[in-house]
Symmetry: D2
């Protein structure tokens, strides 16, 4: 994991600023002969795209993706497939209203990265958050669309499970509901509540945090590795690396601290297919850093955006004290659009581990692992 590259064998390098010419990524190490079209990627980008409801920034960006390389027509199948060489994806910026930001160009927004970028680099592209903008996550979603195709049978889905202090009722969980409301919320009743709640936040010029849950099904048992390439460790790094994320959990997460060993144990039996099965999933599908074959479950907490109408005390890059108010286009709850981003990051981590596992081990061991005792 270097500065702007993510992954080891399935490697994603992203570039671009919020109000620059374009942003994009280079996906290196993708296996060859995987059918891939721009439309496959566009479909995922459209889920993250801003301006689709009144609850996200009104910036109008088509986020139209172009494949620049790494895909070629397969003579035998007649399909466009990956070639094993780098897949470069380009998304041009269209709706850059840089004037929106001129008023706050020199003033640091408390809770925003402008100050730390300047400490580190001495300057930064302040327009729309520049490199620190959530706009960079479009490149992640694009890469994730490819990652999803790398692991046969993998299904990665995400949902908003908490907005501000309000948690959904997990008894109402319905994956189909996620696509039906502007919050990626699996609980229809909660979604209805969030509509009013977030309108209030939005109209007040305020912002609010959220908690997102990602569930990956079809993760082959055996993916991951001790000791510093643990599947959960790399998921935690990937999710914490999303803009505004402040906490990550796997399985029972922080609640596991309160459990006894008896309650935390995911007991095992032999299933009808003769293979091991688990009677519960406190572990969130990962033991010792390696996938058990159960669904991998991760959650992450997103802080409220720093772009708010209420004046906050700050300093300028010239060394003066000031008050700052943010009036541009923004998301009252950036956690919402983090759902497809979280899915993409999880998909990328799993695709990377899929290739790394195949590299080191080839096929996982056959069950049972030892000959039955005489």
């Amino acid at each position: 994991m270097s500065f702007n590259t993510f992954g080891h064998l399935f490697r994603v390098t992203t570039f671009g600023e919020s109000h620059g010419v374009a942003l994009g990524c280079v996906v290196d190490g993708c296996p060859p002969r995987i059918p891939l079209t721009a439309q496959d990627i566009q479909a995922e980008l459209d889920r993250r795209r801003p301006g689709q409801s009144r609850f996200t920034t009104q910036r109008q960006e088509p986020d139209a993706v172009k494949i620049l390389s790494g895909v070629f027509r397969d003579e035998d199948s007649g399909q466009d497939v990956t070639t094993g060489t780098p897949i470069a994806l380009l998304i041009e910026n269209v709706d850059q209203r840089s004037k929106d930001y001129s008023a706050i160009r020199d003033k640091y927004r408390p809770g925003h990265a402008g100050y730390t970028y300047d400490v580190k680099y001495g300057l930064h592209d302040y327009r729309g958050g520049g490199r620190a903008s959530a706009r960079e996550t479009a490149a992640r979603v694009a890469a994730g669309a490819i990652a999803r195709k790398v692991v046969p049978g993998l299904v990665v889905r995400g949902a908003l499970v908490q907005m501000g202090p309000h948690r959904i009722d997990r008894a109402n969980w319905d994956w189909d509901e996620v696509a039906r409301n502007p919050f990626f919320c699996p609980d229809a009743k909660a979604a209805k509540f969030f509509e009013d709640y977030l309108d209030g936040v939005r109209k007040a010029g305020s912002s609010i945090g959220a908690v997102i849950e990602i569930v990956a099904e079809g993760v082959p048992a055996g993916l991951g590795a001790p000791v510093y390439a643990k599947l959960d460790a790399e998921l935690a790094g990937a999710l914490m690396g999303i803009n505004a994320v402040k906490g990550v959990e796997i399985g029972d997460g922080f609640a596991a601290a309160s459990l006894s060993g008896e309650d935390n144990a995911d007991e095992m039996r032999v299933g009808n297919d003769g293979r091991p099965r688990f009677l519960s999933n406190h572990a969130g599908g990962i033991l010792g850093g390696i996938a058990t074959g159960q669904p991998v479950v991760a959650r992450f907490a997103v802080k409220p955006t720093s772009s708010i109408l209420a004046p906050r005390k700050t300093v300028t890059r010239h060394g003066e004290e000031a008050d700052v108010v943010t009036t541009g286009r923004h998301d009252p709850c950036v956690g919402i659009r983090a759902v497809p981003v979280g899915e993409a990051m999880v998909a990328c981590v799993i695709a990377d581990h899929y290739l790394r596992h195949r590299g080191q081990v080839g096929d996982s061991a056959a069950w049972p692992f030892s000959k039955p005792k005489a």
Copy 2:
């Protein structure tokens, strides 16, 4: 981050199993001319060492560290110093009672990595948890002792802030108290309570989880980097990679999801020294993946160990169903000894970022970042 290597410029590669000949690590990339003796490392190892109270495993391991390479006498100062070449550290295993584990050799403990290691590799050293044993973390602590010396002025301290469902009272926080009780607990009153509480857990042959907090002071502003080398992302990966950890938070963590943008904002003023100062630290010392100069605050949740006396349903590696009971020496609350391990991981991440920052940027930018406006 490869399978058993951690870090980019300050790189730690660990090896060894719980009941093998020895364990240890190779620290590569350490700057030269840093005074270093085995005693510096031993002091940290002694904090993690088992058998120091009735609340940790009774295995007796001196954990005596030997420096095999990378340190040499400096002619001018007469001190032993790092040479810039790899520092190999060796800790021999002494008290391996492998017979303790023979009864459970073929049965998977629910919640333990034995099953997933076998899925992945087809076999594993089952004695004492083998490579998945918390014993591996001795190597991390040893490496952390070196990391602490790499960053001038860095102080990394940890504390247990929750055991089972019981949280400490943060109003009682006293860093000096941490060394006075067997729980690394900064709240003397809570420590007293934990003594009775954990005795109950221990006598019942059960186990319990915990939450640990690590605070790093003296982290230079500017360390870290967008987008995939974020300081918080790498801390999250490092801490989630510690055995039994299921959740990681930075600053306000999951609580930030419930905050409004107004409440989450760490406002800024110009301090008496003319430099920016923050009026609060919801961010835990990190904005946009880059250190603000405030204390870096991270927490992680440790699940209860799977080694318990109560029988649990499981399967064997031969494919049969069975019940398993764990009778060997174990920690009723593995979270306790995770405190120095968490400190070590945080120190390693910061040392690595210190070198990476110096590599890319040299010195951080001078304040103020632009000439004051005329």
Copy 3:
């Protein structure tokens, strides 16, 4: 060094095929506040650009580079400078005459990568060599233009020193001559000879190899590192990784095998400035993998291109035997345009080591290294 990424701290990721939409690269890890314009990069690209004499392919490509990200206006200086975030460079393909290749689409050219790409990936973009085309090296030259700016005082120059069996006369070496002939040849007399010689090769529809020498001056003593990050090892990897290169030498290279220890020794004295100086440079500026401060000297051998008019025996991707003749636009001596590419690779390696050295060591040690003895 991953599949399509080069370097550790100064990292270059390239993408693109010869006849695709575009090619380019992402330069990550570049220090901030380095003045950089598209013209700086274009100047280097123009030296590698095809179609500038009858001795290189007649493909007409302007190789116009666009900077997509990572550069921003510095408020104080009014200059465009690097921001420390990824610099994405895009070069669109313009003159793709893909029909030129249709006749040979299924037949492997002996000595060309088409066969091995198909073995590995099952298919490849065969148009103009696809990813294996020398056209990919434009991205390297672009990255090298940035690398040159990273190391203060660094000057990297290259020259063709052998074409076919004909070596230049080193007594005639004149760096100024390099820009005056179409061969990057520092020996005016040899250049005159090469003109006739290569015309003969070209008209015969044949091709010929070459040897290129790169000299880097201003490489700070201390760059490089034992044991697997040796400056010479990474230069060797970088230069051998250029298309068609079959051999690499540092300093005296293969001739050193014939030397005695006495003759190979670069003796040392104290110079007028009180610092060590060397009386010769058999080592090519590198000892133990670390720069001595003398000029770094590397040479590499380029094989003749496989695109020739003479029919060669081959097989098709359908499994049949065939003869193949290559009639498209090609370079009779691809070694010529390898000169700026070799310079770029050397510049990238040195820039990377400059940052890595600064990361691990900070400043090199002060001379003398120990206090003079009393």
Copy 4:
């Protein structure tokens, strides 16, 4: 490739100084369930071990290797096998006559790394060359012994093909001869000559260079990758990284510069088994950075050691001019013992690429690559 780690998926990290406590390595990423004993490794170490003839240093080192981790008894087969976790290997130093070096402790040997280590790090372990000693290569040979077992069917052999200016007669090449003389020379007649020749060099207190050739058979077609992970590029880096190496060639190497495209073409036919076969191997088994399936052929040039009896002009680390004479135990031709080291590096590179290829691609494409045309 970091400072002291080599490889991506098959990763070798070495440590240790010539006269320190011990040296060794950690091999990470090795596939599980490969039978491995210390004796397998010892057999390779014994080929490199010093003191076996009057033509190598008289230092007596048993180079006895211990496996510290990563190997465990397989219950079903009763064999010791790799577990997939890090394999740590330890070789204790025994015959450290450090007094031999005290006379030259402050004086730099021209052509030796002592000066550059001091420039970089400010000090170094000067005893016996410290980290820069050829003794470090024992760890590489040990790792190579494991690498050889990773790739089914791989055979890597090396031979000395030139000593000083004297080349062997390739018509006399007999692999069996290599083990029969102290020079790893495949030409019995040349070996006889080298005996007298090197005795002369040795008695004169001088030293001489050599050229070594490594041939790897059984390298699966398809290993390697564009653009910066080329098999030849990584072989070049690996071989140039061996102590005292100044040049590396693949296949025809520098001689390819003199060839025409017609002569360089390795023509292809369909073999009796229906698969492609090559009529020659100018390419040395690699096209476009990817293995063709032919033997991989590499050569490297080793300079004469700097440890000679003739006085040379130098400076001291205190800043004074001096003359230096080296009187300790040394190899008159270090190239000899570089043969098993070169084999080991080639084996490690191929093992790494074997795993990386399997990771990205799984199985190579089936021949023919497209359906035969109707």
